[in-house]
Amino acid sequence: MHEVSLVESLLDQLDGLRDRTAGRPTATAVCLVRVRVGAGSGVEPTLFRTAYEACRGAREYTAAKLELVLEPERWVCPLCQSSVGAEGPLDCADCDAARVLRAGAGIFLDRVEMEVPDV
């Protein structure tokens, strides 16, 4: 399942973040991870959480709580900018143009909260 690949990518990004502490010491723990999952991304949130629980221990992110935020699909006509949800129609009848998926297509790491030692 591709959710495992995406969790590995998430954990790689977290590894790279522990030094991004605005001049403070390296983070000692990651407390919270917020991920935005698009409804049209092809990612199943339940499976993503399962993969996260299975993989995070090996990377020492056992304390990091995962928050998943679901983002609905938004299809926009490139000509008149009218938008619809996943229910469609995906063609804009007024403009005879295909609507484009502008939101809800991807999966994003939105926010990380880390514990950083005081100096």
């Binding site: 991304s41 991807g106 939105d110 030692p117």
Partner: protein, 254 residues
């Protein structure tokens, strides 16, 4: 804080929040952009071929090679969890091919394709080639998420899989530039299946995508598929105008 006895002494810590909004596919997309730049510079039309196991992806490429009769140079990689069977079939059909065995992996990603392209045998085959086919792991779900640097996606759906597959697997079919309805020679034996029914299902998730009925066995539709490939290649050549049409070998640090 002290985590030995819970006395509350020891170094204090502050919780720091970082806002990112970074795609979890960013690493793959970066490698895919690298591949696409090479493909376009070389005038190489790369097609990501996706579909269920047994849909007829390999047979489509074999039929394509037969129809082209050596008039265009082709190369391919073939993704499967195990065996080199499909790559061997393609080589027998005259398409220099390399197998990518994924073990338990359910899709190809850009790094796998990139590694394959650095294999000497494939690098030689790509010199002067017009088309590079990436036959993805048989799966209607996972491969759709991973950009491989391709110029186009072709989804192969066989007539025996059910006419409502586009609605059941919308993410895959939304990514398709062309849907090949394979094993079309079986249609007379399947009264419940029709091209119109597949088109109606596809229209609900990808209203502008064409369905091309094709039989690798009888040759029906293969000429139209070749014409579609040639139109794709004309667009690729237009992008690479003025650049010598050869695949550029290169090395990477590390």
């Amino acid at each position: 804080m002290c985590d030995v006895c819970g006395c509350g002494t020891g170094p204090k810590a502050t919780r720091l929040a970082v806002e990112l909004h970074s795609s979890l596919l960013a690493g793959n997309d970066e490698t895919a952009s690298h591949l696409r730049a090479h493909f376009e510079a070389a005038g190489l039309s790369t097609v990501n071929l996706m579909g269920s196991p047994g849909a007829g992806k390999t047979a489509l490429l074999e039929a394509t090679a037969r129809a082209l009769g050596g008039t265009r140079r082709l190369a391919a990689v073939s993704g499967d969890l195990a065996t080199e069977n499909d790559a061997q079939r393609l080589r027998r059909a005259g398409i220099p091919s390399l197998a990518i065995t994924t073990g338990t992996g359910c899709h190809l990603d850009a790094a796998m394709v990139h590694d394959a392209l650095h294999a000497p045998a494939l690098a030689v085959a790509l010199e002067g080639a017009a088309f590079f086919f990436v036959e993805n792991v048989g799966n209607l779900v996972c491969p759709a998420l991973f950009d491989l640097g391709q110029a186009a996606n072709v989804v192969v759906l066989s007539v025996t899989e059910g006419v409502d597959k586009p609605e059941k697997y919308p993410v895959m079919f939304r990514h398709a530039d062309l849907v090949v309805l394979s094993k079309a020679d079986l249609l007379p034996h399947l009264p419940e299946v029709s091209v119109a029914a597949v088109e109606a299902s596809l229209a609900k998730v990808a209203p502008r995508t064409r369905v091309l009925p094709l039989s690798a066995r009888t040759g029906e539709g293969v000429g139209e598929f070749v014409a579609w490939l040639d139109a794709l290649h004309a667009r690729t050549e237009a992008k690479s105008a003025g650049v010598p049409a050869r695949f550029v070998s290169h090395t990477h640090p590390g």
